[in-house]
Amino acid sequence: MSYIENSEQLTGPFGEALARGELIVQKCNSCSELIMYPKYRCPSCFGNDLDWHAVSGRGQLLTYTVLRFGAPSSFDVEPPYAIGIVRLEEGPQLTGRLHPGPDGTWDHYRCDEPVAFEPAEAAEVAQRPAAWFAAPQES
């Protein structure tokens, strides 16, 4: 029986989807569990018949922060930048980046408020494959 053999196989489809402007999460074909972050085995039924599933991109911002100092050098982004944890409508949650508002700040974000997936430009996604979110009113 085949299985996911390395982290490139595990993470590759997610980054490829982001590059197409889509947000996908892993799905277990055996028990239909939606899984994020993707795993080698389904955390629910422990099966390994795993696939991918497009999600709406709508969710709730659980929490967020604006990092202003001390970005990891490997990340290669000049702070400030904002990171959020989003619980998707479909259930899974993930960490991603938050777009600034028109004023260049992240002051308009609030915990538990809605956010929606809004992909970053292709060059950014190619370098740092992360899901970006924005508050709906400014998307």
């Binding site: 972050y37 659980l62 922060t65 100092f69 990171i83 960490t95 915990c111 992360a130």
Partner: protein, 403 residues
């Protein structure tokens, strides 16, 4: 709920803390890693009343500053440094980040309970305070954080603190002043601890709120300072302890919950693993928050501590920061907490931050703290640790035993 048979108190399988050792935390660039470790070990052995040759088991707590020093720990350099070569039965390392000291306690107690060790030395040394800061930022950003899923968003340790603090403040309605008061209370304790990094410098709420934003809503004075330090303890069985000591400290029970690996995957960012771990620990010990005389709980950020206190039942849900603001956890307040100053004011010595809290708990229960901060007739202490991105909540229920 616990179904674990805990050792009969006072029996040969009942583990007993009999000695502690610690050196001051802070920036000590000329103090070497192994020199610190040997000094802390020697102080703990002296405090235990044993000879160094009585130690038959070493449990080493890893450093997070560099691989060569780690290799020295792994490959038994400490055995030679302590003159135990040809005598020690075993030398090993235990590692779970900030909760290592709790898991090392479990391992040491288990070795004693199962008759595999007689006298265990647990020792830790760290050189974070003298390490290159940007190298440490990078090290802490790629380790303990999922590179594929959160590294790509630029997550690092202060950002994790910011995420948890934001969620906690949202859920509890705590104000910036109330959050800052946590750091101020810890500083007040640190002023009473000769081993604390910030023993000579006071801190006010205004100073905290006047410091620069680092990872909203966290400000610079709300982030832990990396420090050099070392600490150790000696554990034996109650039957051995009885021969030389009138009192010692036993483990009444423990509880634990590993809630997540990734910050983004913790379903309850405002709770972490504490409520579940507390139920287990209190059930095992037969006592809980109401009966404790003090607590020593992992505090690398204020919200990490307030969340833990609420999960432990030491504060009502959502009220811990306001309890700090009302001085309940300050020296002279209603409940002594993190009496060494915690990681936030005694210094963040990596894995040693939890170790320093544990050693302070043992010190308090042995009634060997300096008089200014000794909790009068302390009998019971709750110790809480947490590692990585607050991946786990580990609770040790410690109690003083008098012969």
């Amino acid at each position: 709920m616990s179904n674990m048979p805990y050792p009969e108190p006072g029996s040969a399988s009942d583990a007993a803390f009999i000695g502690i050792g610690e050196i001051p935390s802070g920036k000590y660039p000329t103090r070497g890693f192994m020199a610190q470790l040997v000094e802390a070990a020697a102080r703990a052995i002296a405090d235990s009343g044993l000879k160094h040759t009585d130690i038959d088991q070493l449990v080493l707590i890893p450093n997070l500053h560099g691989i060569p020093d780690q290799a020295d720990l792994i490959f038994s350099r400490v055995v030679e440094e302590l003159g135990l070569h040809g005598r020690a039965k075993s030398s090993m390392m235990i590692h779970s980040g900030g909760s290592t000291s709790d898991n090392a306690t479990r391992a040491a107690a288990g070795l004693i309970a199962s008759g595999q060790a007689r006298n265990v030395l647990v020792v830790q040394s760290e050189k974070w305070g003298s390490a290159d800061l940007s190298a440490m930022v990078d090290m802490l950003s790629v380790n303990g954080i999922p590179r594929e899923w959160e590294g790509t968003s630029g997550l690092q340790f202060n950002a994790i603190g910011g995420l948890i603090t934001q969620r906690y403040m949202h859920q509890s309605g705590s104000t910036p002043e109330e959050m800052a008061s946590v750091c101020v209370a810890l500083r007040e304790w640190a002023r009473l601890n000769p081993n604390a990094m910030w023993k000579d410098r006071g801190l006010t709420i205004e100073q905290v709120l006047g410091s620069k934003l680092v990872a909203d809503p966290l400000r610079a004075y709300e982030c832990p300072y990396l420090a050099d330090g070392a600490a150790a303890f000696v554990m034996t069985s109650a039957t051995e302890a009885r021969k030389k000591h009138d009192n010692w400290v036993r483990i009444a029970g423990s509880g634990g919950c590993v809630s997540h690996y990734s910050s983004g995957q913790d379903a309850e960012l405002g709770e972490l693993g504490w409520p579940k771990a507390a139920v287990e620990a209190y059930d095992a010990a037969g006592w809980g928050a109401e009966e404790a005389d003090l607590a020593e709980v992992y505090d690398s950020y204020a919200a990490v501590l307030t969340i833990a206190l609420e999960g432990l039942g030491l504060s009502k849900k959502g009220e811990a920061a306001r309890d700090f603001h009302a001085k309940r956890f300050s020296p002279g307040g209603g409940f002594p907490l993190n009496t060494n100053g915690g990681l936030l004011s005694a210094g963040h010595t990596g894995v040693g931050g939890g170790m320093a809290l544990l050693v302070e708990a043992i010190r308090q229960l042995l009634h060997r703290a300096e008089p200014e901060r000794q909790v009068p007739s302390a009998q019971r202490c709750i110790v809480g640790g947490s590692g990585g991105s607050y991946m786990d909540a580990q609770i040790m229920m410690l109690e003083r035993v008098e012969k």
